[in-house]
């Protein structure tokens, strides 16, 4: 296993990390001095970076505030239908952001006949807040439900409700609030598809333009380096909380969670939850549906015909990417179980985290620059380069999910088998893997969905002539009538849901209920 582990580690470093380091290093230090390159970064670049930071800051702040309210209502109170809302509100997180961007543009077009409001910085902030608030909600909700009830109950003996919340509960979840803020900030500043669709100039779209339209690779890479620096700096500051993120768990060890009874606020809370669900989930899809069919089914059929050639490629790519991502996640996590985690194992988790923090477009650029070489053409001009991109982007999530599941399985289950003489491979196959099967399945589904809808990396990497769903939608939507765009996004959304449901029913018999 040790050999297999090393092979996976070396391959990951060579295929994914090395291109990133090589591209940045080459751009900064070769063909002239670093000072020469730095002169390319003018005042406009820094103004745009500041604007992008401000947008990301607003999204992170709003998402954390709304996420705290939603997390509190759903994880700490007896509000009605809380189990339903806990799942339903997560839906925007698993849908490609550009789908929601299309839906919101449709909304303004349909009701106001003017998309000026949404195609602005404020529009980007509102749409991305609706997408990232569920992420904040899980992070903060998990932290809230892990607070030992006795800590709050002791507070109630001494003081009133408000003081308990502000003096005990909130300070206890401070790490989760910080993690939520930092993660949403990184995701927002790295987001490409929503500002690109709205035609709003931010740092990621500027990098894309410099690289793809003006072929100004040096400037694009320098700008990328700035963005990577910001993301990695923030991750470094918050490294402890994010690296041990409990929210990336399929199930958590039971703690005695204190549930508050909502009295006067029950109706207000219920209305807030229902409104949030309606605005962030129901409304966008009703709008897409209306826009797709308002002039009959012609555009829908046309959209379907346009997307048919992409189905096989997109599903196949996402399937293989998810499979490899789960294997990498397992390999990076299993040493946790029998306490054999070495320095190499710990560095693997860190490498996964850093690559995860690199914005998609930048990651794509580095892979292109590295693999665009006659000797590596078999990767550059095939789907392999996209596969490498997806694996690099999403392996961290899979590793954390699987790692957290493994942490919850007592080491004694392995030791008992060890004493009975069960071989290492058989212990993994017969004990560890069956016990974490639900998590492996969830990791597979999440990796599949993320890979299936990933636009930022794909748009940089797709070889000419390849047919991939998000690219097809994105390239056509620029010039197509609104109803065709809506139909295409509705189809992508429906296909995503269909695949998730099918995978669930296929895998259900293999998931052991414990």
């Amino acid at each position: 296993m040790s050999l297999f582990y090393r092979i996976v580690y070396v391959l990951f470093v060579f295929l994914i990390v090395f291109p990133l380091v090589y591209t940045l290093g080459a751009a900064l230090f070769s063909d002239g001095s670093l000072n020469d390159h730095l002169t390319l970064l003018d005042k406009d670049t820094f103004v745009l970076l500041a604007k992008s930071c401000l947008i990301a800051l607003s999204i992170a702040l709003l998402s954390t505030i709304f996420g705290t309210v939603l997390g509190f209502l759903l994880y700490k109170t007896n509000v009605r239908l809380r189990n339903f809302f806990k799942i339903a509100i997560l839906i925007p997180l698993f849908i490609s952001p550009y789908i929601l961007a299309v839906a919101w543009k449709d909304f303004f077009y349909l009701f106001f006949n003017n998309t000026g409001f949404i195609s602005s910085y404020l529009g980007v902030i509102l749409v991305l807040t609706s997408i990232f608030t569920p992420l904040s909600m899980i992070i903060i909700g998990s932290a809230l439900s892990n607070i030992n009830a006795q800590l709050e109950e002791t507070g109630f003996v001494i003081t009133n409700f408000h003081k308990v919340i502000f003096k005990i509960t909130l300070p206890l979840i401070k790490p989760a609030l910080m993690s939520s803020f930092v993660l949403v900030f990184i995701f927002s500043i790295s987001e490409f598809s929503v500002p690109a669709f709205f035609g709003v100039k931010v740092f990621t779209t500027e990098i894309f333009t410099q690289f793809s339209a003006f072929y100004n690779h040096s400037l694009a890479i320098l700008q990328s380096a700035l963005l990577i620096f910001i993301c990695i700096f923030l991750l470094f500051v918050e490294r402890k909380h994010i690296a041990n993120a409990p929210f990336l768990s399929v199930s958590a060890k039971g703690t005695s969670n204190k549930l508050y009874r909502l009295k006067n606020l029950k109706i207000v809370s219920q209305v807030f939850l229902f409104s949030w669900f309606s605005i962030s989930v129901i409304l966008p899809f009703v709008i897409l549906f209306i826009q797709s069919f308002k002039n009959g089914i012609g555009k829908f059929i046309q959209a379907f015909e346009l997307l048919i050639p992409t189905f096989g490629n997109s599903i196949g790519l996402a399937f293989f990417a998810a499979l490899i991502i789960v294997i990498i996640g397992f390999v990076a996590s299993f040493p946790i179980w029998n306490n054999t985690e070495t320095k190499m194992g710990k560095s693997f988790t860190w490498i996964l985290l850093i690559v995860f923090a690199v914005p998609s477009t930048i990651f794509g650029i580095s892979l292109i620059k590295f693999y665009n070489h006659p000797m590596l053409d078999f990767i550059y001009s095939s789907y392999a380069i996209i596969l490498i991109g997806y694996i690099g982007k999403f392996s961290f999530i899979s590793a954390k999910l699987i790692g957290n599941a493994i942490k919850q399985i007592p080491a004694s289950l392995d030791e008992a088998a060890q004493i009975e003489g069960i071989t290492f491979f058989k212990r993994q196959r017969k004990i560890l893997i069956p016990l974490i099967m639900p998590t492996l399945f969830v990791a597979f589904i999440i990796s599949f969905i993320f890979s299936f809808g990933e636009l930022g990396t794909t748009i940089m990497l797709y070889p000419p002539g390849t047919e991939i769903m998000p690219i097809k939608v994105f390239t056509i939507m620029a010039n197509a009538p609104q109803s065709l765009t809506s139909s295409m996004t509705l189809i992508v959304f429906s296909v995503t849901l269909l695949i998730i449901s099918s995978l669930y029913f296929i895998m259900k018999p293999f998931i052991i209920k414990l």
Binding site: S412, G421, I422, L435
Partner: protein, 238 residues
């Protein structure tokens, strides 16, 4: 005759010393209790004997064969002819009672696995539970399944790490009765870790009282009860 010998064992976790130059002989066909409070090192001794931990220094022999020496495992846990009952019992939750017991036998490619398992289930009156999963059993039944799982592999030594910690008094008494009889029925040497001196007095042939990684006193029940050692007297007061 000693079946297990620990010579000059020193062990620590993250630079925190747990055992300091500890030497201990455990006699064959006896039930030896390692008695001590939290952090006294009793579980560590058990894990070192099993080969689940490697000591920083010292050596361990089982049946006169060197199993651990100079920070190195010479004999793997499964080669030591031991059984281990963990504090949490470590029953595999996705296996039935039958599969939990048969798993080790199948790995050893034993013949007549089914009849061997059912003989064991019969001995502990567990036959009707063969197809149940651990979560469908009572606390006492789980204990007996864990013991069956170890005994079916015919170990010479059975190591038990506070296996009754989570049981009520009535059930504890019943299981202790079973444990007491294991020695004769299965030709075993038992090492039993506990922090409860009443439990130790009820079953032990030999008691080793541990404190801060050192042995304070060794003897049979009567000798321990009459010990003049200050720590032993203090420990037995509660």
């Amino acid at each position: 005759m000693s079946i297990i010998r620990l010579n000059n064992i020193t062990h620590s976790y993250d630079a925190k010393p747990v055992l300091q130059d500890l030497s201990l002989n455990i006699e064959a066909n006896q039930l030896t209790c390692l008695l001590g409070g939290s952090g006294s090192g009793k579980t560590t001794i058990l894990r070192l004997i099993a080969g689940l931990e490697i000591p920083q220094s010292g050596k361990i022999t089982i049946e006169n064969k060197m199993v651990t020496e100079a920070q190195q495992i010479i004999m793997e846990p499964h080669q030591r002819n031991i059984g281990f009952i963990f504090q949490d019992l470590a029953l595999w939750p996705h296996f039935t009672v039958y599969k939990n017991i048969a798993f080790g036998l199948s790995e050893r490619k034993e013949k007549n696995i089914r009849s061997t398992v059912f003989k064991m289930l019969d001995f502990f009156d567990l036959q009707e539970h063969a197809e149940k999963y651990p979560h469908q059993l009572s606390g006492g039944q789980k204990q007996l399944v864990a013991i069956s799982r170890s005994l079916v592999l015919k170990p010479k030594i059975l190591l038990m790490d506070e296996p009754l910690a989570s049981l009520d008094v009535k059930l504890k008494r019943k299981i202790l009765g079973h444990i007491k009889n294991l020695k004769q029925n299965f030709d075993l040497s038992l090492v039993y870790v506990t922090h409860d001196h009443k439990e130790a007095f009820a079953i032990a042939d030999q008691i080793v009282v541990l404190n801060d990684g050192k042995i304070e006193e060794t003897g049979n029940v009567e000798q321990i009860k009459k010990s003049e050692n200050e720590y032993v007297k203090y420990f037995l007061e509660y």
